[in-house]
Symmetry: D2
Subunit: 364 residues, 4 copies
C-alpha cells in the first residue's frame, strides 16, 4: 500500500492533482442499501469549496461531484463507489520560478527528493484539493452514521490567539470562519484582515465532536480508535498536532482528577465527566468523542521569502496567486469527513467481535 488508501472494512482511495484533469475517490466495502444521490455529497463538498468569502482563495471551482459507479436506483450496491470532480479553473499560466523553486513550508522539496521530479502546478498531489476525495467519502459515511444516530460535527475552536468562549453550533455556518461564537468570529476576522494586509497568513485549531457512538468500538493495540483518528486527522495537510479529550492538559493533571468516574443513568453505564474524550484504552466508552487538530498557518504567502531552487541556488520568492490566508475554516469539513470515515470503519469492525454475534447472524 502506498498510502492513498485508508480504512480496513470501508476503504477509501483518493486520487488527483490540483491542476490535473480531475480528482476523486473510490470507496470500497461500503455496505449496500444506503439511499444516496449526488446532493448528499455535494452538500459536504460545498462546505470546502473555494471562493466563498474574502478569507478563501478566489479560484473558481464548482467542485461538482459525479457518481460514476456503485449506486443503482438511488441506493448503494455494495460495490465500489467511484466519485469524481473535474478541475475547471486550472489557470494555464506560466509557473515561472515556482516550477523549480522549493516553496518554504510546502512539500515541494520532499516530493522532489522522493520522486525525482514533481507536478509543480498548484502543489500537484500535495494540494489542499486532494481533500476533495476525502470529503466526498466522508459525506457518505456521515450519512450512514446519521442513520445509526451518530453525529459528527467540527468547528473552528481558535484562530491565532483567539479562542471561542461561547458555543452555539448554529452560528458556525453563519460566519466565514466556521466559529460557533459570534464574538470570537468577529475578533478573528479582524486578526485575519491584519495578517492579509501584512501579506501573511494564520493558523488555528479545529475541534470535532462525535455523539452517539456506543461503547465498545475500536480495536485494541495499533488500531485503537484514537490512534486511527490521529492518523486520519494528521494525514490532512497542515495538521501539526492532535489531542483526544483533555489532550496535553491531561499530562499536567493527577489521576484522581483525570479519571472519569462511572455511574448508572437509566440503567446505562455512563461517565460523570469526560476527560477521556470518549475513548479509554483505544475503545469508545459511550461518551462524546472529542478531538482537536492544530493547523499551521498557510505556507503560501506573498511576503518575500528566502529559499533554494532545484539547481541548488539560493533565491528569494514571493508567492502570488490565489491562496487562502487561513486553511482552518475550509478544513473543518475535512476533519469531520476523516472522523466520519474512521468511526464508520470501526463500527463495522465491532459486528464480528463475538461468536455470539456471528451465531445470531447465521442462525437461520
Amino acid at each position: 500500500m502506498a498510502g492513498s488508501t485508508f480504512g480496513n472494512r470501508i476503504s477509501i482511495t483518493t486520487w488527483g492533482e490540483s491542476h490535473g484533469a480531475a480528482l476523486g475517490v473510490v470507496i470500497d466495502g461500503f455496505p449496500a442499501g444506503l439511499k444516496l444521490c449526488a446532493a448528499d455529497i455535494q452538500m459536504y463538498l460545498d462546505r470546502r469549496k473555494p471562493g466563498q468569502s474574502k478569507f478563501t482563495t478566489a479560484r473558481a471551482e464548482g467542485d461538482e461531484v459525479e457518481i460514476l459507479s456503485g449506486v443503482f436506483e438511488g441506493r448503494t450496491t455494495g460495490t465500489p463507489i467511484s466519485l469524481m470532480v473535474r478541475n475547471n479553473d486550472q489557470h494555464s499560466k506560466d509557473y515561472g520560478d515556482i516550477a523549480t523553486t522549493y516553496r518554504p513550508g510546502h512539500a515541494d522539496f520532499g516530493f522532489h527528493e522522493k520522486f525525482g521530479f514533481r507536478d509543480y502546478r498548484g502543489g500537484g498531489r500535495s494540494s489542499g484539493r486532494e481533500t476533495i476525495g476525502r470529503v466526498a467519502a466522508g459525506a457518505i459515511c456521515a450519512k450512514l452514521l446519521r442513520e445509526l444516530g451518530i453525529e459528527v460535527f467540527a468547528y473552528t475552536k481558535s484562530i491565532g490567539d483567539i479562542t471561542i468562549s461561547d458555543f452555539e453550533l448554529g452560528y458556525r455556518d453563519q460566519n466565514p470562519l466556521a466559529m460557533p461564537d459570534s464574538k470570537a468570529a468577529d475578533d478573528a476576522a479582524e486578526y485575519l484582515a491584519a495578517c492579509m494586509l501584512n501579506n501573511d497568513s494564520a493558523g488555528g485549531v479545529i475541534e470535532c465532536v462525535i455523539t452517539g457512538v456506543p461503547a465498545g468500538i475500536g480495536d485494541p493495540v495499533f488500531d485503537k480508535l484514537d490512534a486511527k483518528l490521529a492518523q486520519a486527522v494528521v494525514s490532512i495537510g497542515a495538521v501539526k498536532g492532535v489531542e483526544i479529550g483533555d489532550g496535553f492538559k491531561a499530562s499536567k493533571n493527577v489521576g484522581s482528577l483525570n479519571n472519569d468516574e462511572f455511574e448508572m443513568n437509566c440503567e446505562k453505564v455512563v461517565k460523570a465527566t469526560n476527560h477521556s474524550g470518549g475513548i479509554l484504552g483505544g475503545i469508545s466508552d459511550g461518551d462524546d468523542i472529542i478531538l482537536r487538530a492544530a493547523i499551521k498557518p498557510t505556507p503560501s504567502i506573498s511576503k518575500m521569502q528566502h529559499t533554494v531552487n532545484e539547481a541548488g541556488e539560493e533565491v528569494d520568492i514571493e508567492i502570488h496567486g490565489r491562496h487562502d490566508p487561513i486553511i482552518v475554516p475550509r478544513a473543518v469539513v475535512v476533519v469531520e469527513a476523516m472522523c466520519a470515515i474512521t468511526v464508520c470503519d470501526a463500527l463495522l469492525g465491532h459486528m464480528t467481535d463475538r461468536v455470539e454475534y456471528i451465531k445470531e447472524f447465521y442462525k437461520n
Copy 2:
C-alpha cells in the same frame, strides 16, 4: 486486520496479556543479513522493565527475551522473527472486586462491551505489558537504523508542570524519570513523591527526536510520515495527544514566522529553522524529526473512586497492588520503539519510489 499488526513492509504483530503465559511479537518483512542477538533486544527491554526505582511497580519480571525464529548464525534471515517473553510474576491472587468492576480511566468497560467478557487479570491485553512486543521489535528496527546513520532517542520532557529547561542526553539514563535535566528531574521526583503520598498519580510529556533521516521519506496522503507516527504513538496506551515540530503552538503563529526557509549548506539543501519538526506535507525534509506525546496520569490509584460493576451497581473502589505512580519514564523507550518501527518502514518504502531506482537495481 484486527489491529494487532502495524507497518506496511516491515510489519509487526504483537500478542499476549499481562497475566497470560507469555507476551511477544512477530516481525515480518524484516530484511535479511542484520547481525542480531538477544542482547540487542534485551538492552531495550531492560529500559522498560518494572521494579527499577521507587517510581515503578514492584512487579518482579526479568522480561528475558527469547528469539524463536528468523535468526540463523547470528543474522536475520528475512523470514519472520518471533520473539517471546515469559510472564513469571503473575500473582495468582484473588482479584476480588476488580474482576467485575470497571476501573475508572481503564479500558475495562470498553473491553467488556466489545468482547462480552474480559481477561481481568492486570488489564489483560490492555495492560502496559503489551508494549513488550513493541519494544522488542523497536530494538531491531533501531539497530538497522543505526547502520544507516539514523538515531532515535526519546526522553521525558515534562512531568506535571515541571518541564526540562536544560538538555543533556547523557543524564537521561542517570535518573529514574528519564529527564535529560538534573534540576528538573529532582523537582519532578519531589512532585511525584507528593502525588504518591496522596495515593495519586501523575502524567507528563515525552519528546522524541530522530536524526539522520534523509529528505523524501514518507507516503503522501493517508500514510504521511507524521500521520503514521501519530498513529504509532497514540496507539500506546495512556497517550492523549501528539505534536510534530511546533505542534499546537504553530496554530498561533503566522506563516512568515512558521515557514522554515531553505538554504544551501555544503551543497546540501537545509532549513534555517525547524518549526516543521522535520516533516513537510507528510514527507521528511532532511531535518531532525521531532514529536511529543502527552501521557495521562496512571489511572490505577489507591485513592477511593466511585464506579460501576458488571451487575450495574454503583460501587467504590480502591486499587491496591503494584502500579507505577507515573507511566512516563517507562514509556520513553516505547515511544522510541514505535518511532523506530515507523521510520524503518517508511525508509524501505522509498526504495521503490522511482523507475530509475528499479532499473538501477535490476540492471544486471
Copy 3:
C-alpha cells in the same frame, strides 16, 4: 479491504459496472518516472474490446481510456494513476425477466443474497467489463516490466477439445481466437460455429508465459509468487482452475523426473528442464514462468434454461442479446494483465529483502 484492491506495493483498485456511467482503476504505489501516454494503455484495451469478430459480442464500445491523474509531462509522478473508460453503448432496454431472474452460471443469485439487491443491467459489477480496469493497470505494469527485460504473453492454448500443437506467437494476433497455431485456430473456429448454431457456448484454456524474471522474486508462505498468481488469475470471472508448470500432470509424476536439475550456463545457475514452471517454493527460479487458466463456457446462452426468480418461482429463460459465445480470446489479455501486475508487485518487494541492498541504497 472489500476485495476491489490487489497488490502490496503497487496496488490497483478497480471500480465500475457494465451499464454504469464508466469503469476504471486507480493504481497506487506505481513508481515515478515511467514514460506513459494513453496509447500505451489503449493498445491493451483494444485487445479486449468487443465487436472485433463474429466470436465476440456486438456491443459497440470504443473503450477509450482517459488518464485522469498521476501523469505529468508524459511521465508517471509516483502518485495515484486514475484511468477511466466511459460506457457508451448501454442499451437502455427493458431488462424484463432478467432483472428479477437468476441466470444459471452467473453471479446473480450470489449478489442478491450478499447485498440484498443487485444492479441487474448486464451483470453489473460481475460483468466481464469489470476487467477493463485490470487491463488498463496491466498495460502500465507490462510497460515497466519490458524496461526491465521482462515479457508477459498469453495465448489461447485450447478451445473445447482442440489444443494447439504448433506454436508461432506472431500468429496469435492474426486470428480472432488468439491461438498461436493456424490449424488449431481453424478447427476451433469450426467448433465454435457449431456451438453458436446450437445456441450454445464454449470454454478453453489460456496459457501465459513470463520471460526474464530473475531468480529470488516472491514472498515465502502466503504470498508465494505462484499463490498470488493463482489468486490473480482465478479472480478473473469464469476461471475455474489454474496450474503452474506441469500442474496437475506433476501429481502423476515421480520426483526424479519432476525435479529440474540445476546446471551452470555462462556462469549462471540454470535449470535443465522446467517442470516447475519457473517457481520453486513460491520463489522464482530464473526460468520462464508458465501458467494455465481454465475458462468455463460463457454462461449466457440463448438456449432455453430452467431457473428461479427473486419471487422464488421456477421459470424458463432464454438469454438473448449481445454475448460472446466464448470468453477465452478476449480474456487472454486479462490474464496477461493480471500476471504483469503480480510480477511487477513482487519485483518491487525484492528490493528491500536484504540489509546490504538498503545500505547500498542509502549509502550516500
Copy 4:
C-alpha cells in the same frame, strides 16, 4: 506485508523454521467467546504429525501445541491467539553438502538469491513444518465453522495414476494415505512401495469439500471466494495447481451442460447440479464448495541428482535422511486448514455487507 500473514478479518501470521527453536502462529481478529482448549488444536496437529506410518518421515516430533495468549477461562477473548510448537528432534548433524548445494525441486536456490543466504537446516522456512501454524489456526477456524453448521473435509483423491472410485469418508482415517476408498488405498500403497524401492517419490491430488456455506459469501473482484481459496491452497508448498468444481474439465464443456440450473426445494433456491463447485462469480451459491489441489512428488529423494552448489560448481547429490516419500496424506489436513481459514474470514465479511444488517445490529 511480507507474506506471512493471511486473511482480512481473521488474519493469521505464521513463523518458524524446520530446525529453529519453535514454530507457531498468531491469530488476530478471531471473535471472542469460542470455547477452546489445546486438545481442539492438538487433534488437527496430530493428523499432520510425522512418523505415523512407513509413508511418512521418521522424524520424532510430538508437535505439542501451547496456547500462549488469547484464551481466558476456556474461551477466546477476541485478542490475538498465540500458539507455539517446540521443535524437539532437530538432529544437530553435519549438513555437509546440503548446506551449500541447491537441492533440485526445492526453494534453496530461490531463497539464496532472495535473501543472500539461507537457513539450510531442513529447508528452514520453506520446510513443510511451516504448515504447523496453518493447521493450528485452521483447527480453531474449523471449530467456529462447525458451530455454524459448516464442515470442511479433505481427502486424498489420487496418488500417481490411482484415483479413488469409491467414497467412504470414514475410511479416510483408517489408512495411512487418507484415501476414502480402501481398494484405491491398497493400490496406492503398492505403487508407493515401488517408488520407495526405487529411491523415488510420488505426488497426488487432494480434494476438499465444504458443506453448509450459505449463498452470498465472498467478495467480488480480487477477493472472490475462489480466488482466495486458490491463493490459500497454492500457498501450501508443493501445490502446483488448483481447480474449483469441474475445473479444467469445464473448459471442454459447453455452456448448456456446464451451467447449473436453479430450482426450488423446500422454499430454498438450490442448484440441480454442481459443476460450479459451489461458487459463481466468486460468491458462494449455497451448494457444496469443492476444490482440488495438485501436489507434486516430494523433491527430496535419495536417488542421485545433478545440481549446482553456491560456489557455482556442478555436483551430484543424494539426499538421505528423513523424508516423506509422498506429501499428499499429511497435506490433507493442511488443505482443510487453509480452506477453513478462508471461509471463516469470508463469512465474517458478509456480516457488514448491507445497511440493513448494520441498522439491525445497532438498533438498540
